[in-house]
């Protein structure tokens, strides 16, 4: 009823729509979805060459399992790693020949390069059936499901790229609610919409598979109410009462994980906690479909639906693109209105990023390629403290103050204002009448804070190491002194003993019997021995050698690491110099650590 009234009011006062949802703020950008959501998904385009980056996920890069010149079949595993850190294997999207394994530019905001496997396609599509060798029955245990998902190389396809298996708990019944994210609130993007319209059945059964394996009885799929077609198709596909399809208001950023949970379940995930701790598992519709394909068809993740849209295109479309297809190959097909002398955007206009060259390949997380003709930039004015940004922020932060302190580089203050709870949704920048690129400032501040922290950590580590070294040296010194003292003592004793002898020899004391003499000598010997043994037998003497060996081992390791680093200069040097990458690296490190734990317990 209230919704209905609000909708009525919103006809004359559009912002009344903000009252329709449960989280704070939000914005209503023009959706532009009609550019690409009318046409069915275009059949896969076969490019001449595919470039598959070895790192398309959060975690560590995998290693190639093929060599240049080798022929590969579709769905063949071509890269993986033995390492237990977070990663996802990569499979060949089509048949062909490995023509190179080399550094290429990745779809990344700062033009990062990375090792890629290049496949020259043969167009024959020779395929390995049931590449994942799945058994005949659907998994009933979380671990079986996780294993298949891991082997299929599935990662979060909404944009984050977190390996999906690592998101799933090992214990049954831990997940109480599965939320399928079909919100797709970013303007222009329609790939999830099209997936739901086209593959509703697959999504529903994929969701059922996950729910069964995890022992979960509640699945809710949230879809923005501007996708009526998708809602209809999904409702038709529902085959049991576990699943509800929920129409949610069209408000950006309702598709954010925490916002969606807030909207659908009405609960806030406490800061610093994870949805899983509240018994909630959120998955994107594309990811769920990929799970279906893996579990039922034994297909690894080698292609994905991508939206190719933008104001600069005559014929925007959606396609099932093979991973590794170059952006430019897909864009050409959409008939650009003008020469592509501007940069394409990966992702939506709110949270996506500009790629440095238009040659970069599609990865597992590319949901959209946007070709918006460049626009003249409006000048940035000083902040007028209007508070629009605050009204728009879904997290209820104080964007204006965050901006102020980021600008003046008072980073402790930004942290106090919960900088790290900012989801970089861009609502604040979008509404700012002074046109201030607020999010840019927050990204900068976040990177700086992380850098400072890691530097601090490094210095404290170095300090610790130095202190240890000092302690070790001190210990060695003491030991040396002890040894010396002992030796001296021994010598003294000996000379004393000799004196004794002399004295005995010359004194007027009654001469000892031979037996007595022998006894005395023996006594002295043991005495001497006793004085030496504590030194010889003490473990302290063993420690330095042990320490030395460990030190040598560590040094060796370091040297080895250095070597590796030198061998892959591009990756590491860039990661060291760019704060953005460093941030990612740190994140990855953290996740890796967490993953090792989960993985260990899983195995």
């Amino acid at each position: 009823m209230l919704d209905w009234i609000l909708k009525l009011i919103s006809l004359i006062y559009p912002m009344a729509k903000r009252g329709l949802k449960k989280f704070n703020g939000g914005i209503f950008p023009k959706s532009h979805k009609d550019l690409s959501n009318h046409h069915p998904i275009v059949k896969t385009i076969m490019p001449k060459e595919l470039a598959l980056p070895l790192k398309q996920h959060i975690g560590i890069a995998v290693e190639p399992l093929v060599v240049v010149g080798e022929k590969v079949l579709k769905n063949q595993l071509i890269a993986n790693t033995e390492d237990t850190s977070l990663h996802a294997p990569i499979h060949a999207p089509t048949s062909g020949t490995i023509s190179a394994i080399e550094q290429r530019q990745l779809p990344h905001s700062s033009g990062l390069t990375g090792l890629c496997i290049i496949i020259t396609t043969d167009g024959l599509e020779l395929e390995i059936e049931n590449a994942l060798k799945i058994p005949n029955k659907v998994p009933t245990e979380p671990n079986t499901l996780k294993n298949i998902i891991y082997k299929a190389g599935i990662v979060g396809m909404g944009g984050a790229g977190f390996p999906t298996f690592a998101k799933i708990p090992n214990e049954k019944n831990k997940v109480k609610t599965i939320i399928i994210n079909g919100a797709e609130c970013e303007p222009f993007i329609t790939c999830d919409d099209l997936i739901m319209q086209t593959y509703a059945k697959q999504i529903i059964s994929g969701a059922n598979i996950v729910a069964n394996a995890l022992g979960c009885n509640k699945i809710i799929c949230g879809i923005e109410d501007n996708k009526q077609q998708a809602i209809k198709k999904m409702r038709q596909a529902v085959n049991n009462e576990k699943i509800t399809i929920k129409s949610i208001p069209t408000i950006y950023p309702i598709g954010g994980e925490k916002q969606l949970i807030q909207e659908i379940l009405g609960i806030e995930i406490p800061a610093g906690s994870h949805a899983l701790n509240s018994g909630i598992l959120v998955m994107n519709v594309s990811t769920v479909r990929a799970i279906y394909q893996a579990v039922i068809e034994g297909k690894p993740l080698t292609s994905r639906i991508v939206t190719i849209s933008g104001t600069g295109l005559k014929k925007p479309y959606n396609t099932e693109a093979m991973l590794g297809t170059a952006f430019i190959d897909l864009i050409k097909f959409a008939k650009p209105k003008m020469k592509l002398n501007y940069r394409l955007i990966q992702g939506g206009p709110m949270m996506g990023f500009e790629v440095q060259t238009n040659q970069v390949p599609i990865t597992k997380t590319t949901n959209c390629i946007l070709a918006n003709t460049p626009q003249k930039k409006t000048a940035t004015m000083p902040c007028i403290r209007c508070g629009e940004c605050m009204d728009a922020c879904p997290i209820n932060l104080l964007p204006q103050q965050l901006y102020w302190y980021s600008k003046s580089q008072e980073f402790e203050k930004t942290e106090k204002l919960n900088l790290f709870d900012c989801i970089e949704c861009g609502c604040c920048s979008y509404v700012c009448p002074s046109n201030i690129p607020l999010v840019q400032y927050y990204r900068f501040a976040k990177a700086e804070v992380k850098k400072n922290k890691s530097e601090q950590k490094a210095t404290s580590l170095a300090k610790l190491r130095y202190e240890n070294k000092l302690a070790r040296q001190e210990k060695l010194k003491v030991e040396k002194a002890n040894r010396l003292k002992a030796k001296k003592e021994a010598i003294k004793q000996k000379s004393l003993a000799d004196k004794d002898k002399n004295i005995t020899a010359t004194s007027s004391t009654p001469p000892m019997s031979a037996r007595e003499k022998a006894l005395a000598a023996a006594k002295k010997r043991t005495q001497q021995a006793n004085q030496i043994t504590p030194d010889k037998a003490s473990p302290a003497k063993a420690t330095p050698t042990k320490a030395a060996t460990t030190a040598i081992a560590a040094a060796k390791k370091r040297a080895a690491l250095k070597k590796i680093k030198q061998q892959t200069p591009n990756k590491d040097t860039i990661e060291d110099s760019k704060p953005d990458n460093r941030k990612k690296a740190i994140e990855a490190e953290k996740k890796r650590a967490a993953l090792i734990k989960t993985k260990k317990s899983q195995e």
């Binding site: 912002m15 950008p29 918006n372 403290r385 209820n396 709870d421 979008y430």
Partner: protein, 339 residues
């Protein structure tokens, strides 16, 4: 620098915002001219010229590009604010002083637009209010009461020379309704008696009521287009109405009814156009309400127990000082935290 997301914008701008505010002042301006003659138009133009000169010099001195900053229209709001506050036929140097002071000391010395803690219009007005109290209280009488309709040329003459041939100045000037009430009380006239004066019409201040209604119209449009926040008018007007009603109920002879308070002086101007200045007010939703309520209380206190007939400017300036404090204690709860 890397161009990062978001790549789209809602197309709002400071300039558009300020233009809207200017537009919303138009009805009040027309009504003002109807009741008090062309004075305000001349004053406004004088203010504009002062602004152009002062602003260019200041921007030059501060090494800032003149064009984008001079065209942001924020200073024009300052001029309008002052023009509505001073007597429409007062001498030319009054508005020139006020505008110059407002722009130099209220804005540029703090680093320009966005950095000023005090509302420039109110700072400028307070300055002349303290420096030239007599000139400020010499209000023109509404045309219908004085019976003298000045031509545009006559008005110009009056503003620049201080007199017009063949017309007695005393005939066309008088005290404002608020002033009459205040002086009335000191000479033993009750409020109810003052309300019978010709400057009141149906117990409402004549001319001022109409102008204030025009302000409301413009203000409502601003609310509707989200150029201003609801917290300001609601908090401010609500507080004054509440206090006035309570005190009038207790002692109707000394305290004017709420209707007189709400429709006299620049109350509606303040409610929709002055205290809504984002730069100098609180930024948090709750803080805005606190800010508005605070000003409401102070205005009522100064009107009844202070030395000046109207205290909007002082009230605003005082609350401007409290803004950092208010902001700190009204920060919203961040999602995912307990408070």
């Amino acid at each position: 620098m890397i161009n990062t997301s978001p790549f789209i914008h809602d197309n709002n701008s400071v300039q558009k915002l300020m233009f809207k505010v200017q537009l919303a002042l138009l009805p009040a301006l027309i009504v003002h001219v109807y009741f008090f003659g062309y004075g305000i138009v001349i004053q406004w133009l004088l203010g504009l010229i002062t602004f152009l000169i002062v602003e260019s010099i200041m921007l030059k001195l501060r090494n800032r590009p003149v064009l984008p900053f001079i065209s942001d229209l924020t200073a024009v709001i300052t001029i309008s604010g002052i023009a509505f506050c001073i007597p429409p036929n007062s001498s030319w140097w009054l508005i020139v002083t006020a505008v110059s002071f407002a722009l130099i000391f209220g804005k540029h010395l703090y680093g320009g637009m966005g950095y000023n803690p005090f509302n420039p219009a109110m700072l400028g007005y307070a300055f002349i209010l303290i420096s030239f109290p007599v000139e400020i209280t010499q209000w023109s009488l509404p045309i219908a009461i004085s019976g003298q309709e000045l031509t545009f040329i006559n008005t110009l003459q009056l503003i620049f020379t201080g007199n017009i041939p063949n017309i007695n100045i005393d005939q066309i000037t008088g005290a404002t309704p608020l002033n009459s009430m205040k002086t009335g009380l000191t000479t033993g006239t009750t409020i109810l008696q003052t309300l019978n004066l010709p400057i009141f019409d149906n117990n409402l201040p004549y001319a001022w009521t109409q102008i204030n209604i025009a302000f409301i119209l413009g203000g409502l449009w601003l609310l509707f287009t989200r150029a201003i926040n609801w917290q300001y008018p609601i908090g401010f007007l609500g507080t004054i109405a509440l206090l006035a009603t309570i005190f009038h109920y207790i002692d109707p002879h000394t305290y004017a009814p709420a209707s007189v308070h709400l429709f006299s002086g620049g109350i509606m101007l303040a409610a929709f156009f002055i205290i809504t200045d984002p730069v100098t007010s609180s930024t948090t939703p709750k803080g805005k309400l606190v800010f508005a309520i605070g000003i409401g209380c102070l205005v009522y206190i100064i009107r009844n127990w202070g030395a000046f007939p109207d205290g909007i400017s002082f009230a605003v300036l005082l609350l401007n000082m409290c803004v950092p404090f208010i902001d700190q204690y009204t920060a919203p709860r961040v999602v995912g935290y307990k408070k």
